[in-house]
Amino acid sequence: MTATNEQGLQQIATIIEQHQTLPGAMLPILHAIQNDLSFIPSNALPLIAKALNVSKAEVHGVISFYHHFRTEEPGAHVIEICRGESCQAMGSRALEENIKQNLSIDYHQTSKDRQYTLEPVYCLGNCACSPAIRIGDDIHGELDLQKFEQIIESLNTYSLELK
């Protein structure tokens, strides 16, 4: 697990304060932290544990149970490839291999330039237009390698514009 700096810790403290009185506050807190910081840093655990009156081990247990939560900083774009049966019926098995090769990373890995993190996902609910992937909050369907490369290209153009 990676730690965050003083500023990150300050953000975490604010999030905890905003959510800790909710019934069952653990998941809302973890979501809010990951939304803001893109991952859940190791030094957030004692703060969450103290606020919710549970042990650090319990917080760790919750984080590790759910596929969505991550404890390492991801690349600029998190790419989730659907592995569900519907996507398999439309060639996702070959597609996922091609994407892995294209980005030179496997699942749960981040590219060397820190642009892409690849994750498997089990269904995005886009099953009438399989195969599907999710990048950020955008869902793309009827994907093939060519369309994937176009999407990646447009991501790069966009991030250059931002700079």
């Binding site: 069952g24 519907s86 019926a89 609910g125 099953c127 009438a128 999710r134 909050d137």
Partner: protein, 537 residues
């Protein structure tokens, strides 16, 4: 083609509307670009005086992005539309008549695929602005709630029992009986929990409903609250549905402003508070007790039953846990009467089922029909065969834990009991189609692999069985031993399936054998040793 707005047959300027869907699948096909183009044209041509409405989807996904324009005869559909088509469509149309355009499909509601459906639960999906409370009301919304206010708690439960509604999440437990159990518990803090963790591959009905008509779900949950005496509801939504999350939150906020949520709703003495909570990518949290653990902020470990959630559910309190479609069917039942809903369907499967056509299918989408239609009719008449134009070989109904069915079983009627009698499940109504390139042994292996990834780990048959399952299937496929050894492995796999089916705590381990066994039974040749080049990956 008539450009002059002939006075008696044109839409009044104030109600000229253009509809482009904001549904996830429509967006994945480019509806945002189309909507942006519509907006830019409407801005540059203020004389058109039309407004853009972002609605849900009609469910004809191969036609998305679908652009609809209201005319005196009804909405006229164009699709699939690209941004560069928009200018022509809008400027030739003038809102008064159906015109000739290569993409014009005619009146949306006259399209055979759409017209032949029985849309009770999805009546407003693809029609209204999902987050507009007034639009919802003008299309029959909140009539069920108004009727519920005039009834006692017991009368509401009786109406739901009368309808014959069974849980649409997959387990098909009678909804009215579940509600009765919660109502019978002494007065205390009770909860309504909506299971919106729609994790089955091939299903998207919950998502479409939450994106297209979230207020019907809100209304269903308020009615459930009135009927059992609960004043707090939670929608447990999967994190894979960012668009549904956004729309639900807006709809809830608008319903609150309009006085339908909060304290003293609609000026009555009743309170009902509603909140959306996000899951975090765990398939098992679609199992109701695992979902409750997750809502409480814990690892989503399955609970042993009893106690039933209806008696000791969320935070140990009596809790109704219902699927999105079950709850969204309740407003119809309360507005039209339980007997009206009951009149649809066959046998003990009453009402309608939103069926989802997915996978390798030419016309994928959502079809809501009364129970009783055969799989064949759905696959051919609605689905129009495989998207790949190849022969259909296998369909999986009811998600990753559902059986794979060969062609000879496609005359089975969609009915809970009929499906059970052939060792299959209807589940949440998702149908995933595979063409003749499918390797059924690979699909069986994936069922075990999926169980390995998604098992909560609480009980041994599921946690370890899944791992052993992958190993045994690999052993069969890798052709490591002679024919006797291979047969021994197949027998071992059957034995393992027995252990998982009868020894697991919940459906995750208990039903993973369904796809495995059906693949073995109906597609045994795929498990035979064969040159690796012949196998599709």
């Amino acid at each position: 083609m008539n450009h002059s707005p002939s006075d008696d047959s044109s839409i009044p300027v104030a109600s000229r509307k253009i509809f482009v869907s904001l549904d996830t699948t429509a967006r994945s096909r480019g509806s945002d670009k189309v909507a942006k183009q519509v907006e830019s044209i409407l801005n540059s041509q203020p004389e058109l005086a039309a407004t853009l409405v972002r609605n849900g989807s009609r469910g004809m996904f191969w036609l998305e992005p679908l652009l609809e324009i209201n005319t005196p005869k009804g909405r006229v559909a164009y699709g699939p539309v690209k941004a560069e088509d928009v200018n022509d469509i809008i400027n030739l149309h003038c809102f008064d008549d159906v015109i000739e355009h290569p993409l014009c499909l005619g009146l949306t509601e006259e399209l055979p695929w759409f017209k032949s459906q029985q849309r009770l639960t999805f009546a407003r999906v693809g029609i209204i602005d999902p987050i507009d409370v007034d639009d919802y009301i003008s299309h029959g919304g909140f009539v069920g709630l108004t009727n519920a206010f005039a009834k006692t708690a017991q009368q509401i439960v009786d109406e739901v029992k009368e309808s014959g509604l069974r849980g649409r999440g997959g387990a098909a437990f009678p909804t009215g009986i579940k509600w009765q159990t919660v109502l019978n518990e002494p007065e205390q803090q009770k909860y309504i929990v909506c299971n919106a963790d729609e994790g089955d591959s091939g299903t998207f009905a919950d998502r479409m409903l939450m994106e297209g008509d979230p207020l019907v779900l809100v209304e269903g949950m308020i009615i459930a609250g009135l009927s059992v005496g609960a004043d707090q509801g939670y929608i447990y939504l999967r994190s894979e549905y960012p668009q549904a999350h956004d729309i639900l939150n807006k709809a809830i906020s608008n319903a609150k402003t309009a006085g339908y949520l909060g304290d003293n709703i609609c000026g009555t003495e009743h309170n009902f508070h509603l909140e959306v909570r996000l899951g975090a990518g765990a398939y098992i949290c679609g199992e109701e007790t695992s979902l409750l653990e997750s809502l409480e902020g814990k690892r989503g470990l399955v609970r042993a039953k009893p106690p039933l959630p209806a008696i000791e559910g969320l935070f140990g309190q009596p809790t109704v846990v219902n699927n999105v479609i079950s709850l969204a069917s309740v407003p119809y039942i309360l507005s039209h009467g339980g007997d009206s809903y009951r009149d649809f369907g066959m046998g003990r499967s009453r009402g309608t089922l939103p069926i989802q056509l997915a996978g390798n299918i030419a016309q994928g989408g959502l079809v809501e029909l009364a129970f009783g239609i055969s799989l064949n009719e759905l696959l051919q008449q609605y689905g129009n065969g495989c998207k790949s134009k190849r022969a259909m070989r296998s369909v999986q109904v009811g998600g990753p834990l559902g059986a794979y069915l060969p062609a000879e079983q496609w005359d089975t009627a969609l009915d809970y009991e009929e499906f059970a009698s052939i060792g299959a499940v209807l589940g949440h109504g998702g149908i995933v189609v595979f063409d003749d390139t499918v390797d059924m042994a690979a699909q069986a292996r994936f069922a075990m692999e999926f169980c390995e990834v998604e098992s909560c780990g609480k009980c041994t048959p599921c946690r370890i069985g899944a791992v052993r399952g992958v190993e045994v299937i690999d052993k069969i496929l890798n052709n490591e031993s002679d024919e006797q050894g291979r047969q021994d492995s197949v027998e071992l796999l059957h034995d393992l399936c027995d252990t998982m089916e009868f020894g697991s705590l919940c459906a995750m381990g208990g039903m993973t054998p369904f796809p495995v066994r059906s693949a073995l039974k109906y597609f045994p040749d795929d498990f035979l040793p064969q040159p690796s080049t012949q196998k599709a990956q």
